[in-house]
């Protein structure tokens, strides 16, 4: 199956500014032409895409696949299957697996399992500190050699500022991007939701905005000092967007992402104590949500990710603060992003850029584009297909979603990874 033609699709590729009806041709896992078929091209498979959109496969900066260590929640095989059904062709796995990805052997294990599952690309972030304990530096050079695309301490704090500084310096030595999830280890450490009027009413201990911004400020100063390339994960507040924008204006090499659910939900959604809305960072105010949307529109935030965290049902079957945070989100990344276009938050090109080329550039990989010559990771979307989300129909092993019953428009019909059809809607 080397040669594929996708006919008459509405090709949208923000990275090459293509937006129109085109034929697309694939051979040997790469895109060989857009528009006219190369001379002598005889497709083995033809996909009729009239009335549908053809776009680069989504690149997701953060998806917990739960393997190794928590296979009762999900596996690399189950979650990559869910990924491709949602148009996601590349997922990046943070290092907080069990054991932690702080040795080349664990990184190799994840890579091996991903290869066995044979669907989406699975990239790994290596640990910034050993065991993510924030004390000893991880063997970053070895992790890079094993294919880790960056280093991170996931959501775990590095309390000691000297350790953080040295970790950033060491990562800079090897040209590694550091992925930082800003959360002060003390402010709001016992909290479960945004600290504000809703947490006051519910009597749920709060996590103040400063939990994020205080840590962001510390990181920015150390990034400036060390010159490392850094990426801020899962911003949740308006003030954070301003701080990152200011830092970029000052020339710091920083980027940022936001989880798709943060662009839709707010603290008000927690008011019924539904544990499906329990996430870290917490859902914040309407003002924060609007600022995050503006940050995405203006390009301060260049990636929207799923922050996929599948859980087994029991984990959410308890009172709110007896549950684990997280949403099973791989299959809602694209629908939630397209919905923002319908809501007028930004245009289609911007929306797709933030889930394709934007995250690919942060990861430093060639995908997320339909430029001829690049790897054929792409999806076909029936943009008029209206559907309703029912958790039982999710392919992810985690059914923990707060979007039960939400109406969406747009559904992936085909997903190709390296020119291979890995998902087809039936």
């Amino acid at each position: 199956m080397n040669r594929i033609a996708i006919r008459n699709g509405h090709v949208v590729d923000p990275s090459s500014r293509v937006d129109g009806v085109r034929d697309l041709f694939i051979a040997s896992g790469r895109i060989v032409a857009l528009g006219e078929a190369p001379e002598g091209f005889t497709p083995e498979i033809e996909i009729e895409a009239a009335g549908r959109m053809v776009c680069p496969g989504l690149v997701d900066l953060s998806a917990r696949l739960r393997e190794p260590g928590h296979e009762q929640k999900a596996t690399i095989a189950s979650e990559t299957r869910a990924a491709v059904s949602g148009g996601v062709t590349t997922v990046c796995c943070p290092p907080d697996t069990s054991p932690v990805i702080d040795t080349p052997a664990v990184a190799e294990l994840v890579r091996h399992r991903a290869k066995q599952s044979g669907r989406a690309w699975v990239l790994t972030l290596g640990a910034l500190t050993q065991g993510l304990e924030g004390e000893q530096l991880a063997e970053m050079a070895a992790l890079k050699a094993e294919g880790c695309v960056g280093v991170s301490n996931a959501g775990r704090p590095i309390r000691n500022s000297e350790v953080l500084r040295r970790a950033l310096e060491y990562a800079a030595t090897y040209g590694l991007t550091v992925y930082l999830q800003p959360r002060d280890p003390w402010l709001g450490q016992s909290g479960f939701m945004h600290e504000g009027s809703v947490s006051t009413r519910l009597g749920l201990p709060g996590i103040p905005e400063t939990s994020e911004t205080v840590e962001l400020a510390r990181c920015l100063l150390l990034i400036e000092q060390t010159g490392v390339r850094a990426h801020f994960c899962r911003l949740s507040t308006a003030r954070s967007v301003e701080m990152v924008a200011d830092a970029r204006a000052r020339g710091l090499r920083v980027t940022a992402d936001v989880a798709a659910h943060q662009l839709h939900l707010t603290e008000m959604d927690v008011a019924g104590f539904d544990p499906m809305f329990h996430v870290i960072p917490p859902l914040r105010t309407i003002r924060d949500r609007d600022a995050l949307r503006a940050g995405v529109a203006e390009g301060v935030i260049t990636a929207v990710c799923s922050d996929h965290q599948p859980h087994e049902p029991e984990t959410k079957l308890a009172p709110f603060n007896g549950t684990l945070p997280g949403i099973s989100a791989l299959e809602t990344l694209l629908p939630l992003t397209l919905r923002l276009v319908d809501e007028g938050a930004f245009d289609l090109g911007t929306a797709l850029a933030r889930v394709t080329r934007g995250p690919a550039e942060i990861l430093g990989i060639e995908t997320g584009t339909l430029t001829p010559g690049t790897r054929a990771d792409l999806c076909v979307i029936d943009t008029e297909h209206a559907w309703r989300l029912e958790p039982d129909t999710l392919l992810s092993r985690g059914r923990n979603t707060p979007f039960r019953g939400w109406e969406f428009r747009g559904r992936v019909t085909h997903t190709l990874v390296q020119g291979r059809l890995v998902y087809e809607l039936r």
């Binding site: 600290e195 009027s197 947490s199 009413r201 009597g203 749920l204 103040p208 308890a318 009172p319 603060n321």
Partner: protein, 334 residues
């Protein structure tokens, strides 16, 4: 703020009658007044030689306490027994939950034993809502305190105490003093007072003990006890948990008592006939001076005895067996 949590679909049945009692917030004034009126009729039961009425005969009530409590559990138990119900006390330290069983499994197992009502105290806010969501159709849930969220029967016994001493609510100014941040009692009191139409609700505490945006619940905030007490009709003191003073919330017991402890001098700033209340147990010399706790304006022990009447009222209403229930049902159109 328009609060989106619509709990009344859960708390009230299709006829608008109390089914569960989870929170005061959002309940209509008529329900609160019904609770107080029904409780009034139960106050005399405790004063009779035979302290029982047969309203809940044959019903089984489970006191499911995940946090230690002597006073609240005892008053619920007495209330249930005075309604002639059978009462089961589940001590969490010996329960299956301590062996890893989930709250839901515990609930379902007890429901399978044909129980009719759970009185629940839990360390997590929203725990009683969770149980109400999963309750069998014939089972009622009464919140006996969930995390820092609500303690609705405590608030209603405070309302009964105020009404029996002051009559109407509308002209009153009520001050709540102390650890508002961690207090489920204060949150329920604020909702109850506002729903019953009280003139003004004040909260008085250092900023470390005030939750963010407490004004949005309908309160006026004071950080000075002297200023906050001026002209109030009711002073509700909250218990200060001594362990919290070890953290960064307060510098010392001594300083707290100096600034926020209710002494006779401070009380003199309130109206001369001001009531002094406290949900108990009290820390003498920490939040309140003994002379005030035992003084002529204190109604602290009355609160305790009214607590039984209020809990009898809530239990009987939730079981559709309050003294006025038949009458009310008879008046309803076909």
């Amino acid at each position: 703020m328009n609060f989106p949590g619509n709990w009344n679909t859960m708390q009230l049945d299709a006829q608008g009658r109390l089914r569960h009692f989870l929170t005061v917030e959002g309940l209509p004034r008529r329900i609160l007044t019904d609770i107080l009126d029904t409780a009034d009729s139960f106050v005399v039961v405790g004063e009779q030689p035979v302290k029982k009425v047969p309203l809940l005969r044959g019903k089984t009530i489970v006191n499911l306490f995940f946090e230690t409590s002597t006073r609240t559990r005892t008053t619920f138990e007495l209330a249930a027994k005075r309604l002639s119900a059978d009462v089961l006390n589940i001590n969490v330290s010996t329960s299956a939950t301590a062996k890893g069983e989930s709250l839901l499994d515990t609930q379902k197992n007890l429901e399978a034993m044909h129980t009719d009502m759970f009185v629940v105290r839990h360390q997590h806010s929203g725990a009683s809502h969770f149980m109400a969501q999963h309750a069998a159709p014939h089972v009622s849930i009464i919140n006996a305190g969930d995390g820092q969220h609500a303690h609705p029967t405590q608030a209603m016994l405070d309302m009964l105490t105020i009404r029996r001493h002051k009559g109407a609510f509308d002209s009153l100014c009520v001050a709540i003093v102390g650890d508002i941040l961690h207090s489920r009692v204060a949150r329920s009191q604020i909702h109850a007072l506002n729903t019953l139409g009280v003139g003004e609700v004040r909260v008085i505490a250092p900023r470390t003990l005030l939750p963010v945006d407490i004004e949005s619940l309908g309160t006026r905030v004071f950080t000075s006890l002297s200023q906050g007490l001026a002209g109030v009709d009711v002073v509700i003191m909250l218990r200060l948990q001594k362990e919290r003073m070890q953290s960064a919330l307060l510098p010392s017991e001594h300083e707290y008592f100096q600034r926020y402890g209710l002494t006779e001098e401070k009380l003199a700033l309130a109206r001369p006939d001001a009531l002094v209340m406290h949900p108990g147990p009290i820390n003498r010399g920490v939040e309140i001076a003994s002379s005030v706790a035992d003084g002529p304006q204190s109604v602290i022990l009355r609160q305790v005895s009214y607590g039984i009447a209020v809990r009898m009222a809530v239990m009987s209403m939730a079981m559709g067996r309050s003294p006025g229930a038949r009458e009310t049902a008879a008046k309803e159109p076909e």
